[in-house]
Symmetry: C2
Subunit: 303 residues, 2 copies
């Protein structure tokens, strides 16, 4: 009876990887056994704090369901949240103020969680190329962040950047003041330029990022404008890799939806430094939750 009670009340750990297009969560027991995973909508608080919270709750419910647990089990979850946009003090404040339903919630950036996962705590760099762009080098206890300031001010080679540049190119082509591109046929197949502009009038980074695959598709069939964008994006990522290596790291991981698409375009010498991530950002977020929870309990004991 005692054992059963203990099991029922044993803490469970959950890691969140939250980005501009969706968030993924993973629940593990104390032994590191994965019990369930879940997926939710956009979870970058910059583009909506409430939406970010809703997406996390939705993904958590899915993961609990997969684990055979009901919503009440949320109170057992010790959560590590690695969220895009969380390097911004405003966003940290707003997310810290959340009256969340978990046992505990420890927040950090998606970048930090990704680095923890990718190198399992060892020195290394990480580049996230999804909806947005950000990167980090962790070397001898020093963290150096490059990028991650958000879209549209700092997003070269990200999904959102490819999408925005595609829309820009199409509108110039349609007006006869830009290079001819097959992106135009693709985006104006069922609408005129004004309708395209209206559709993107209040578009978010997530909306733009949906167009990124199209740019790679059109490059594959020889579209010069698409090729030019990819080359521009790749040149930037080469620069970023050099910058991270200059911090002293020797091992890099690249993650996010654009990664596999852009890799063939990068400098082969630099790509040699990019290895597979040892574990997922969700796993890194769990690691962060465990480390933070341990430290928190320790400081409680000391009081």
């Amino acid at each position: 009876m005692k054992t059963k009670n203990l099991q029922q009340h044993a803490p469970l750990f959950m890691g969140i990887d939250g980005g501009g297009s969706h968030c993924r969560v993973m629940i593990q027991d104390e032994q590191g056994k994965t019990l369930g995973q879940g997926k939710g909508g956009p979870a970058n608080p910059v583009y909506g704090v409430q939406q970010c919270k809703d997406s996390i709750i939705k993904a958590t419910r899915d993961a609990l369901h997969e684990a055979g647990l009901d919503d009440n089990a949320m109170t057992r979850l010790v959560v590590g949240g690695g969220l895009a946009g969380l390097h911004l003090p405003q966003m940290q404040e707003q997310m810290q103020a959340w009256q969340h339903p978990f046992a505990a919630l420890y927040l950090t950036t998606d970048l930090h969680a990704a680095a923890l996962g990718a190198h399992q705590g060892m020195d290394g760099g990480v580049i996230i190329l999804g909806t947005g762009f950000s990167s980090l080098a962790a070397c001898k206890g020093k963290l150096t962040q490059v990028g991650g300031y958000g879209f549209p001010i700092n997003a070269t080679c990200s999904g959102a950047w490819f999408g925005l540049e595609a829309v820009k190119a199409v509108l110039l082509d349609a007006d006869g003041v830009g290079l001819s591109t097959s992106l135009t046929q693709a985006l104006l197949e069922t609408r005129c330029a004004t309708e395209l502009a209206e559709a993107f009038m209040h578009a978010t980074a997530t909306d733009y990022a949906k167009l990124a695959p199209l740019v790679f598709e059109q490059a594959d069939v020889g579209d010069k404008v698409s090729l030019g964008l990819i080359q521009q994006g790749a040149a930037f990522i080469n620069q970023v890799i050099r910058r991270l290596l200059a911090c002293g790291v020797t091992r890099l991981a690249m993650i996010g939806g654009i990664t596999e698409r852009i890799k063939p375009w990068l400098d082969p010498q630099l790509v040699m430094t990019v290895g597979p991530a040892l574990a997922s950002p969700q796993q890194g977020a769990i690691l962060f939750a465990q480390q933070s929870h341990k430290q928190m309990n320790k400081s409680k004991e000391q009081r």
Copy 2:
């Protein structure tokens, strides 16, 4: 007594030139005598329909005040409004639904009003380079619009574009992955890169446009990044001028806050086709109000 009554009830004409940073209005009597002028805040409905209406009302009050009239005189105003963003059907609908306080309100684009003013109804082209970019060629009854789809999807060489590109350049420089630029000292004098990013997190075109003068200032003292942006912007406007001339117009006018700054950088051969505007966009908007009002009264008489 009768004469005085007539004067009190004689219609007055007002023209509005509404853009992303501010709006300007001008009130004239039936004889074309200017009675007052006023200025208000941003009046591009894409960035806020309510703000656009508020800005117009504020500017109208100022102009009435200058004309020695009180707010009640709004009901005497036959208004022509040339507003940025009004080529978009959604914006037309929302602005047409306005329960405005005027005798009549006839809406068109800022571009159309500018062209009417610049060429007094004659054939010609007009380029607006203010917060945003748009252009129009009116030739033999045919209107060809180039650009004007809005920021950030279609704004090269506009104030907002210069501002956004400046912020982008500064963040890359600060991270050590971009060209060195004196824009960095200028923008990060009192804050770090993250604070700059936070300040522009939800920035509008109007916010970005405020940085445009800085780019021209830094170019003047030899900053290569600023020079590069200006050359890129100028190359685009050269292309636009060629496109408008290809429509058959021989006379162009350029208006908006960026115009005088960019002109020295344009192809001198092309600049030769750019002459002074015969009258202001507000005057063009009054012309539009008068033409529209005449037509409306005519169709009323026919019913």
